[in-house]
């Protein structure tokens, strides 16, 4: 069963999936009346893949990359972000967010890493939307399916954007696709990190490897296997339970705010229109 789950993650025709994702970007951007996108480039593989797909979809003149390091961001992250922009020959801005972050936390010197990391993620979101307005662009998101499902993101921070081409790709699939579209190897191969504090790694923080996480998720989500079936497939019981709990506990992050219903039709409940209404 475990090998079945591994196979389930394999993308057979990466060229075709690349065409689907670039078609999606082109359609959704242009239908909404835009030509351009802004993308936050962190130096990691998710944003690199998103930037590569955006350039293939819209042309390099229509993609604006932003690197927004804080003073503790690792030098390699900053360099890898530059590498992506150079390779793609896109308009690129490096904006140091240290002044505004430090100014805020001067009032809260004891703030922990999570508060600081969240603030940084939201600061970056705020800058992306400022650029989006300035450059008449949409913000393109870089959240993959693994992190969306376990809620490994900052609410209204990196999770806030207009369209997301890679949100149905698990992290291990992002690696596959990134390699295929030509993201530099050192970016594909490096250990994933949100880089919100020195030494942070995703797998360290989540407590298991993306390979295992993705197999459990694809079994639970895509194949609708039950908890017992996942355990029988050869995963450690505690690990399965922890993953399913992360999925359940982060549902709020995947939803818009909930409205209290008092009338016949309520905006978040039975006012049912796609966003592409009229497009």
């Amino acid at each position: 069963m475990r090998s079945r789950l591994e196979r389930e993650l394999h993308i057979e025709d990466k060229a075709f999936i690349e065409s689907v994702l670039t078609y999606f970007i082109r359609e959704e951007v242009q239908k909404a009346g835009f030509q351009k996108v802004v993308v936050g480039i962190s130096g990691g593989v998710d944003s690199a893949l998103t930037a590569f797909l955006s350039v293939k979809a819209l042309g390099k003149e229509n993609v604006i990359g932003l690197s927004m390091p804080y003073r503790t961001s690792s030098r390699s992250s900053v360099e890898d972000a530059r590498l992506v922009a150079e390779k793609l020959e896109i308009e690129f801005h490096e904006i140091d967010i240290t002044p505004q972050i430090d100014a805020y936390f001067k009032q809260f010197p004891d703030a922990d890493n999570v508060r600081r990391g969240n603030k940084m993620a939201r600061e970056r979101m705020s800058i992306l939307y400022d650029f989006a307005h300035w450059k008449k662009a949409l913000v393109i998101g870089t959240s993959n399916k693994s992190e969306l499902l376990i809620g490994y993101s900052t609410r209204w921070g990196d999770s806030a954007h207009d369209i997301n081409p890679i949100g149905d790709l698990y992290k291990t699939q992002v690696w596959e696709m990134a390699e295929f579209v030509g993201v530099p190897e050192r970016i594909v191969k490096k250990k994933p990190s949100a880089d919100l504090w020195p030494g942070q790694t995703d797998e360290g923080e989540i407590g298991l490897s993306y390979r295992t996480l993705d197999q459990i998720l694809v079994g639970y989500v895509d194949l609708r296997l039950r908890r017992e079936e996942l355990i029988r497939a050869g995963f450690d019981q505690k690990t399965v339970e922890r993953v399913l709990k992360m999925v359940r506990n982060s549902q709020y992050k995947r939803k818009m705010p909930i409205v209290c219903k008092i009338a016949q039709r309520t905006v978040d409940k039975d006012f049912l229109y796609l966003r592409d209404w009229g497009l």
Partner: protein, 281 residues
């Protein structure tokens, strides 16, 4: 005789724009010598209409349909729309329009309401699978989920259908195939299989375009009564497929494989009755 399949991209909820493009495609099909032009499911409204259902619905005597009625004096049309019945039930319907008349209406019988689909929430169920005479010959129209149920194909077959029009707006999913989505591959398998098993042309018109990240899977095609693909479209682009369909090939296929002759609907109905009775008992 030539038939055209319009692989179509709709604007969600904009009847007028979709209507205009439908007329343009029909003119092109006419120019290229087709007798019938087939459009995908809900091509006049877009697929995920949800609450727009009640805003884009038309009654069959509505003047909104006049441009299509006029067009049908030059070429026969099969279009998809939200039909509002006189008693205000809303159907996912397809119309066969010919020589200024709506000659046949198929109301989708199976409304998928699971996973990403929510049709049962908005539409009423159709109840009839009825063959009719199109410009090509004995024909049936089925819509998308209808075809995933063998019963609808059987009912078309048993009425002598030689041209099965399969309209869909199939959102792409599945990354295990080459050059197309998994569901597009299933459609092709279905066309080849049902074409051969019924000795009929299987004429498949699917959507392209994107609605909130649902990327429609395209790959419209026409399969012959021998189960061979005659023409096929791309996965993403709007295009007009044209193919020559030949009555003599239906004859040839049915002479070689006389499944319709040997079919036994009385046996089927007796068994169905028995199975249902036993279930109830």
């Amino acid at each position: 005789m030539k038939v055209a399949v319009a692989q179509f991209k709709s604007v969600l909820g904009d009847f007028e724009k979709n209507l205009q493009k439908t007329v343009e495609f029909s003119e092109e099909a006419k120019k290229r010598g087709a007798k019938v032009c087939v459009f995908p499911e809900l091509n006049l409204t877009g697929y995920n209409v949800w609450d727009i259902t009640f805003e884009v619905a038309v009654q069959l005597n509505s003047p909104k349909l006049s441009p299509l009625i006029e067009m049908s004096r030059e070429i026969d049309l099969i279009v998809g729309l939200v039909e509002e019945s006189p008693e205000h039930i809303f159907y996912n319907s397809a119309l066969y329009i010919s020589n200024g008349n709506i000659k046949h209406v198929h109301r989708k019988v199976f409304l998928p309401t699971y996973g990403m689909f929510d049709e049962g929430r908005f539409f009423g169920q159709g109840n009839r699978i009825e063959a009719f005479d199109s410009a090509l010959g004995r024909s049936s129209i089925l819509i998308c989920e209808d075809l995933w149920h063998m019963s609808t194909v059987y009912l078309s077959f048993i009425q002598g259908t030689e041209y099965l029009f399969a309209l869909s707006a199939s959102p792409g999913r599945g990354y295990k195939e080459k050059g197309m989505f998994g569901n597009a591959e299933v459609w092709m398998n279905m066309g080849e299989f049902y074409g051969r098993m019924t000795g009929s042309y299987f004429i498949y018109a699917n959507r392209v375009g994107c609605e909130d990240g649902f990327v429609f899977s395209g790959k419209s095609f026409i399969a012959s009564p021998y189960g061979e693909l005659v023409v096929e479209a791309s996965p993403f682009d709007e295009e007009l497929l044209i193919a020559d369909v030949k009555e003599e090939l239906v004859r040839s296929a049915r002479a070689n494989l006389p499944l319709l002759r040997d079919e036994r609907p009385e046996m089927v109905i007796k068994n169905l009755r028995r199975v249902l009775d036993e279930k109830q008992a």
